[in-house]
């Protein structure tokens, strides 16, 4: 009984975001009836799926005590690699595999320098952010690469539906559920919490924190790669500018959802709610005909309000 109560107390962060989302949606529904239509919600859901998948990896990186600034670039790189290979005559699935391997490689490099060499995650992933983006530009020479006559199965990943649910959204939901479950139950991810909560104590508990960090950064990169492939499938075009600014959007979402930059804290559910909140707000700006230029400003205000509220409520505890 006390256990259940405690769980509820712990989830108060998620609960408050859900309440905010519902209240906000009701107000929006009142302002514009179009908001609560199937078409609009579907657009919002498809739009947030790529960021959502990246946010899952970012949350785990934040829990480990680091973060990954290179996710947006890695996302572009996987899409660009896949599209270029396909245009060069490769089978689309082989091209996808190589695209994912490319992002995995980025993650391995990040993980090696952060975990084994011991460099700072900010600097390392900032460098990778430039490197991956740079390679994307070099491969494409800055141009768009369109996919022609690509297999139906591949294009339905980003554009198709099953029982009125877009595949891309379904994939996002499946990954999110699996990650949320693993984060709570799996032994490997428990080590991520130990590492982020107190690295020295984790080492002195026999946990190989170097390996933990390596795996974490490989994971964030693979998830960014998957987001890149799905985005390619959705638009049928690869651009070297894909995912620009994604890193900051997903860090915001994860932090709104309860993750801490100091490590050791965060939930997938919270991060997903954070992504949903930010995307609904952006949707509102569009529906209410408010200039798109104010989007980033609003995102910033939401982030600082969420963190301030959290800080104040913790301080009162």
């Amino acid at each position: 009984m006390t256990n259940d109560l405690f769980e509820k107390f712990k989830n108060i962060r998620e609960l408050s975001i859900i309440v905010i989302i519902i209240v906000f949606s009701l107000i929006l529904r009142f302002l514009t009836p179009y908001f609560l239509t199937y078409d609009n919600l579907k657009t919002v859901a498809i739009g947030l799926s790529a960021d959502g998948i990246i946010a899952i990896g970012m949350t785990i990186a934040l829990i480990s005590g680091g973060f990954d600034l290179s996710v947006g670039s890695v996302m572009a790189l996987s899409g660009v690699t896949t599209a270029t290979l396909y245009a060069g005559g490769f089978n689309i699935w082989l091209a996808v595999l190589i695209g994912l391997l490319m992002s995995t490689l980025c993650g391995l490099v990040n993980g090696y320098f952060i975990g084994k060499v011991g460099l700072n995650p900010f600097i390392t992933t900032l460098a990778m952010m430039g490197i991956a983006r740079g390679i994307s530009y070099i491969i494409t020479e800055g141009a768009y690469i369109s996919l022609y006559d690509v297999s139906n199965i591949f294009s339905s990943l980003g554009g198709g539906n099953i029982f009125a649910i877009p595949y891309i959204v379904l994939i996002f939901i499946i990954i999110a559920c699996f990650a949320d479950f693993s984060l709570r139950k799996s032994s490997a991810l428990r080590k991520v919490f130990y590492t982020g909560s107190n690295e020295e104590a984790a080492i002195l508990s026999g946990i190989n924190t170097q390996k933990v960090k390596l795996y974490v950064f490989v994971l964030t990169a693979i998830l960014a790669g998957i987001a890149g492939i799905l985005t390619l499938s959705r638009f049928q075009v690869a651009t070297p500018t894909a995912g620009t600014g994604a890193e900051l959007r997903v860090i915001s979402a994860a932090v709104i959802g309860g993750a801490s930059l100091k490590g050791g804290e965060g939930t997938i559910f919270g991060a997903v709610l954070g992504v949903i909140l930010l995307n609904i707000i952006n949707n509102a700006l569009i529906l209410l005909n408010i200039s798109v230029y104010s989007q980033e400003l609003v995102n910033g205000v939401v982030l600082i309000s969420a963190v301030t509220l959290d800080y104040l409520s913790h301080r009162n505890n």
């Binding site: 006390t2 256990n3 405690f6 139950k185 799996s186 032994s187 490997a188 428990r190 080590k191 919490f193 130990y194 909560s197 107190n198 020295e200 104590a201 984790a202 080492i203 002195l204 508990s205 026999g206 946990i207 190989n208 050791g264 804290e265």
Partner: protein, 497 residues
């Protein structure tokens, strides 16, 4: 002495929550005197110095006279302005700026544009440094200096503030013998300027080399102030430790003769050398010595946490893999750190998760953590160790020091250890929890586990251990057992060259 007093301290008391660190301490410091303050760890030396330098405030009632005028320091700055310079054990210089800027931090001479006049700054610095007969350049960046040079800079900084009293806290703890001799020379020359020096040290031989008077503290009480010429190190040791060991320690018991762990020819250059010893099943083996003797370093190297140069460790005949703490844990070797907050516990995480941190494989099935098994294990240990919590999901940071220490203990019992190395197992916990801890450690040994205790508290070593190895500067200087485990024997070995 005919010289007048700079400092007179009367009836200083200091109460911390739960303990009285100082009880009616009085002493005097004369001009040009080097006055040693000695005592065991926890005797109140640091507290006293912190009060004199304004870091802490004494309880009401005590008085401090500075040149016969009563003073009260609310902030370190006030003490500094009066002329009390404190050279801390951990040096506190800014390592990326020059010697001159460190010495004149915030007081550097300026030119007419308000910028630092470097020419004048270096000139003034060179003047001060010339007192020390050293070749430190005023423009040198501090990080390029060695420890003894940095210490000189610290002392120069204090002197440049026109200090009347210089407090040196363990000034030789990181110096070589030659460097120490140089420091003594400097101390003697400072003396001639009628500055009073308070000298805190664990090393008795230094007191005879450089000090005039010595004040002995024990458990926050001033035992005596003696003229160094009229005393001997035997008298000092007796005064420092002469306390009756109460029987709040559990009775010692017999242990089997079977060796459970053997360490041979263990070396790490500059840290410890030629460490050899055996640990028997069910035995409590103590490691005594002064801070910096290398005990913690040896323990961490044995477990494979830190690297070492050469040497071997066998547990029940199996050789330990080098630098692989995980394999040591699997063989049943656990190291309980002395620093539970920074190195031992996950403060933001629950009691349950802390207890299983070193033994995840015990609660993992098919890569998933079985929460029910985890709860059963944790609850068993919580009951066994009598940890007082409202709920196993409670966060560690909300627990008292004693209960935190017990959780740390539980984390290691959870690996089903054969050998446990405990570094300062009762640091910072109250007397009741301490006695409870001691009883549990003895129970552990009785169940057949080999226990090593590293402790700076001699009474704990004497009360708990079946055998004691004493270290000094990285070497084992002796071993005592049974009735030979006395404070005097250990202290003699601990300060032996």
């Amino acid at each position: 002495m005919t010289k007048k007093n700079i400092l007179k301290v009367e009836n200083i008391c200091k109460t911390f929550p739960g303990t009285k660190a100082l009880k009616n301490v009085s002493f005097e410091l004369a001009e040009g005197e080097v006055h040693a303050i000695i005592g065991e760890n926890g005797a109140g030396k640091s507290t006293l110095m912190n009060i004199l330098s304004g870091v802490l405030q004494a309880d009401k009632g005590g008085k401090i006279f500075f040149y016969d005028k009563e003073v009260k320091f609310n902030f370190p700055r006030e003490a500094q302005e009066k002329g009390i310079g404190f050279v801390h054990q951990e040096l506190s210089l800014c390592s990326h700026v020059s010697v001159a800027e460190n010495i004149f931090m915030g007081r550097a001479p300026k030119n007419k544009f308000g910028n630092i006049n470097f020419k004048k700054l270096y000139q003034k610095t060179t003047e001060i440094l010339s007192l020390f007969d050293s070749d430190i350049k005023a423009s040198e960046i501090v990080k390029n200096l060695n420890v003894s040079e940095r210490q000189i800079v610290e002392i120069a900084k204090a002197l440049s503030l026109n200090c009347k009293i210089l407090i040196l806290d363990e000034p030789t703890s990181s110096l070589t013998n030659i460097e120490s001799e140089k420091l003594f020379k400097i101390i003697r020359s400072i003396k001639k300027k009628n500055i009073g020096i308070l000298y805190i040290s664990h090393r008795l031989e230094e007191i005879f080399k450089v000090c005039d008077r010595v004040t002995i503290l024990r458990d926050g009480i001033r035992i005596d102030s003696l003229d160094v010429e009229k005393t001997s190190s035997e008298i000092l040791i007796e005064n420092m430790v002469g306390r009756e060991i109460s029987n709040f320690y559990p009775e010692k018991s017999k242990f089997a003769e079977q060796v459970i762990m053997s360490v041979s020819k263990f070396n790490k250059k500059g840290v410890f050398n030629d460490i050899n010893f055996n640990l028997k099943k069910g035995e409590i083996l103590g490691f005594a010595g002064l801070t910096g003797a290398g005990r913690t370093e040896v323990a961490r190297a044995i477990c494979g946490i830190d690297i070492f140069d050469d040497g071997e460790v066998f547990i029940e005949g199996k050789k330990l893999k080098i630098n692989n703490y995980n394999s040591a844990i699997e063989l049943g070797l656990g190291y309980i750190t002395e620093d539970r907050k920074n190195e031992g516990l996950f403060l933001k995480m629950s009691v349950r998760k802390n207890i299983s941190a070193a033994s995840l494989q015990k609660v993992t099935k098919n890569m998933l953590i079985k929460k029910d098994i985890e709860c059963i294990n944790s609850n068993k240990l919580i009951k066994k160790l009598n940890i007082k919590i409202s709920n196993i999901e409670q966060k560690i940071k909300s627990l008292s020091g004693g209960n935190q220490q017990k959780v740390l203990f539980a984390k290691w019992l959870n690996i089903d250890p054969k050998i446990i190395i405990m570094d300062e197992p009762t640091r910072g916990i109250d007397v009741g929890a301490k006695a409870e801890m001691h009883r549990m450690i003895r129970e552990l040994a009785e169940s057949g586990i080999g226990v090593i205790i590293i402790s700076s508290e001699l009474p704990e070593i004497i009360g708990m251990c079946d055998r004691v190895i004493v270290m000094h500067e990285g070497k084992i200087t002796g071993e005592v057992s049974n009735n030979d485990i006395t404070e005097k024997n250990i202290m003699t070995l601990a300060s032996k060259k």
